[in-house]
Symmetry: C2
């Protein structure tokens, strides 16, 4: 069991990270299975007194995934008093998930700052469990195991935020190969939104963003109808990411 030097930590403040993984048209989420019980948790943790919250979120994810360049976005801070659940914390001690001396720290009122990330999950070689967990796995967002405290709510809010942000932010860089077809980009959107989209409307809308460059090459060199390959124009992509897509006012 790792040491927990609470003198170094910011009281009352935690972070939770919702890491969505996209691979072969499936949306999954990275979860930790707690030791000794059938209960799962979002990766995250506490905030050291001399560390920015964004840095702490990156550090937590690097520990779990080995990736040091994950794009993380703060999406909401959860501050309901119902998040503090003494019975739950006692149960964690009873089941030896945490040692008894950690109980006072765990049993504080915590507010938690939520971050989300979206990664091509084949990049994550072997997710690494943390000090109170025994496994770290990709789970389907449509078939979640039991989650501790309000972690399912945090996950739902992250997914809803991601869906809404598809209206305002570009997506796909680092998730798709450098060159991709419009149907492949559409699959990414459909996976996140959880629904089928109209092919022609989708094409018209993504082309209007002005972030795609046609390479004039096709997926195969043979078939006449093979779809054209596109790339993101990185400068326009970054600009759209900062300013928002629908700056139509």
């Amino acid at each position: 069991m790792a040491n927990l030097n609470t003198d170094l930590l910011t009281p009352s403040v935690a972070i939770d990270c919702v890491v969505f993984g996209f691979h072969e048209n499936e949306l999954k989420v990275l979860l930790l299975k707690l030791k000794n019980i059938d209960l799962w948790a979002l990766p995250g943790g506490f905030v050291h007194k001399h560390v920015d919250i964004e840095t702490e979120a990156h550090n937590a994810l690097e520990l779990r995934t080995g990736l040091d360049n994950i794009f993380l976005k703060q999406f909401h801070t959860f501050g309901s008093i119902e998040r503090n659940d003494t019975d739950h914390n006692k149960m964690l001690v009873d089941k030896k998930v945490i040692p008894e001396e950690w109980f006072p720290w765990f049993n504080q009122r915590f507010i938690s700052i939520g971050f989300y990330a979206l990664v091509e999950y084949s990049q994550v070689k072997e997710p690494i469990p943390g000090p109170i967990s025994e496994a770290c796995e990709w789970c389907s967002v449509n078939d979640l195991p039991p989650l501790m405290l309000d972690h399912e709510h945090i996950l739902t809010v992250a997914h809803e935020t991601l869906k809404k942000e598809l209206n305002n932010q570009p997506i796909g860089l680092n998730l798709l190969p450098k060159r991709f077809t419009i149907p492949e980009l559409q699959s990414l959107y459909e996976t996140i939104l959880g629904k089928k989209l109209d092919r022609r409307n989708f094409r018209r809308k993504v082309m209007s963003f002005g972030i795609l460059v046609c390479t004039n090459e096709r997926r195969t060199g043979v078939a006449h109808k093979a779809p054209l390959l596109y790339e993101f124009d990185e400068a326009s992509y970054i600009k759209a990411n900062e300013a928002g897509l629908s700056s139509g006012w």
Copy 2:
């Protein structure tokens, strides 16, 4: 000087509220002038241990504005370690803005949860200063007084968020009279965005939201060209507010 019973408060956690006021096509923000020095602050405060963060934000604003029904939206949590500034806190003691016994509490590392609100500011009869301030006033966002710590940054992030959300959220309910003309609605958008908009594009875009109902009455009963009066369809407005406007996927 009010009492500060820190036993009742959540360590490390603060809230800051950016209250935008709209009135006669001007965008202002509600600020508190600290006692004894030329330094201003956003309304906000600390979080009681047994109070949800959203409730605490509402309470803080009710104390300052007298309004108990302000629509507040959490927009970002500020957690840089540079927010803690011991020199600044010593200065607050030196200038007798806060009593010396409050110094240890003020000098913690705080993360601050930012909320914003948009109100018709003529509804606020007489803004009320707090325990460490001597005035509470509406200041123009384009001509701000000196603000403490990172409050100007918090304000800027709130304004940028509001501009972006005009792409995704309806706006105007409780800010405009029940019946309004499209040019009046356009003025509200122009004030927030800080720029002029094309009349025809604006009309086309807001009509596409499906939240406006034409009353078939005109601003005046006389002139033939007087603009038509519209109302929000409240059910559609609320739905668009929850689901986002551009659900065009």
